[in-house]
Symmetry: C2
Subunit: 147 residues, 2 copies
DNA sequence: GTACAGCTTGCAATAAAGTACCATCTAGCA
DNA sequence: TGCTAGATGGTACTTTATTGCAAGCTGTAC
């Protein structure tokens, strides 16, 4: 019943494998940042993650958190979420899923619904892009903001 | 054959109506910023738009461009595009359409394809959000970056 | 276990993107 | 034409992100 713990273990293996494949070191910082991200579903920004991580690894620097996140994105262990705010938000879940964001408070919630995964991904658009993946961005108003 | 000119005229009417409805003034700055945005399809950032607009309205300030864009978004004449970069990008096209962005150069291209507009928009998700709209974000590699 | 090479980190400085404040100016209206 | 609310310009500042470099740590070879 501890699905977060399972997910974290899985992500850690993902990180080990990614580091090995890319000749990168398995540092404490990389482990801790990934761990902190994997246990939340609110798609935090780099600074939010920095705040969370400072408590558990004294002395870690803000720069490192930014750099680690970029590295994790680079090796595919973490993804950056598309959002209309002016800052990066991260997600440890890298399998295709979708998001709904509240237009008032900018909260982002996951949508795992197989009905939305049936979109026919064209191999080429009219603009000549090579398609890789897609994700649906729903916009709406969250329960907290509806009052 | 001058569809950009037609679109600009249409947007200008849209702006007039939006200003009237909201008790806002029709300033030159608002007109020029909207005009500059309406003639491009590359979803520029506020600073890119500032550069474009400086040439045609001497003395316009960066602050004003940022403010005008927020106002235009507020009255629904312009929209902010969801993107994984850490800056806002704007679009004068407010009817539902989708985007593909190049993971290398961050170029964003429009996708107007009725096949992608058939998604069944649930009235409520499991998270209790009230749904408003959606947009599909495709990711891929653009022709220029494929070399 | 020790030592080495190279990647990583921390810190400080800097850049980029966005916001706040306030005096001045302008659009819209009588 | 003159008045008034609201908008702009300019500056200062905040937030978010990036760069450069010295010191430190990871992974490997012995």
């Amino acid at each position: 019943m501890n699905s977060i713990a399972t997910f974290k273990t899985e992500k850690l293996r993902h990180l080990e494998e990614g580091c090995r494949r890319n000749g990168l070191a398995m540092t404490v910082q990389r482990r801790v940042v990934l761990d902190a991200l994997a246990e939340r579903t609110d798609h935090p920004s780099a600074d939010q993650l920095y705040d969370a991580v400072r408590g558990r690894l004294r002395g870690i620097s803000r720069t490192t958190v930014y750099r680690v996140l970029e590295t994790l994105v680079g090796i595919g262990v973490v993804q950056k979420i598309s959002n209309p705010e002016s800052k990066a938000r991260y997600d440890a879940d890298t399998v295709r899923h979708h998001h709904i964001h509240c237009i008032h408070c900018q909260k982002i919630h996951d949508i795992h619904n197989p009905a939305f995964d049936q979109i026919q991904l064209p191999t080429e658009t009219e603009a000549g892009f090579t398609m890789i993946d897609y994700s649906i961005n729903f916009s709406g108003i969250c329960p907290d903001c509806r009052s």
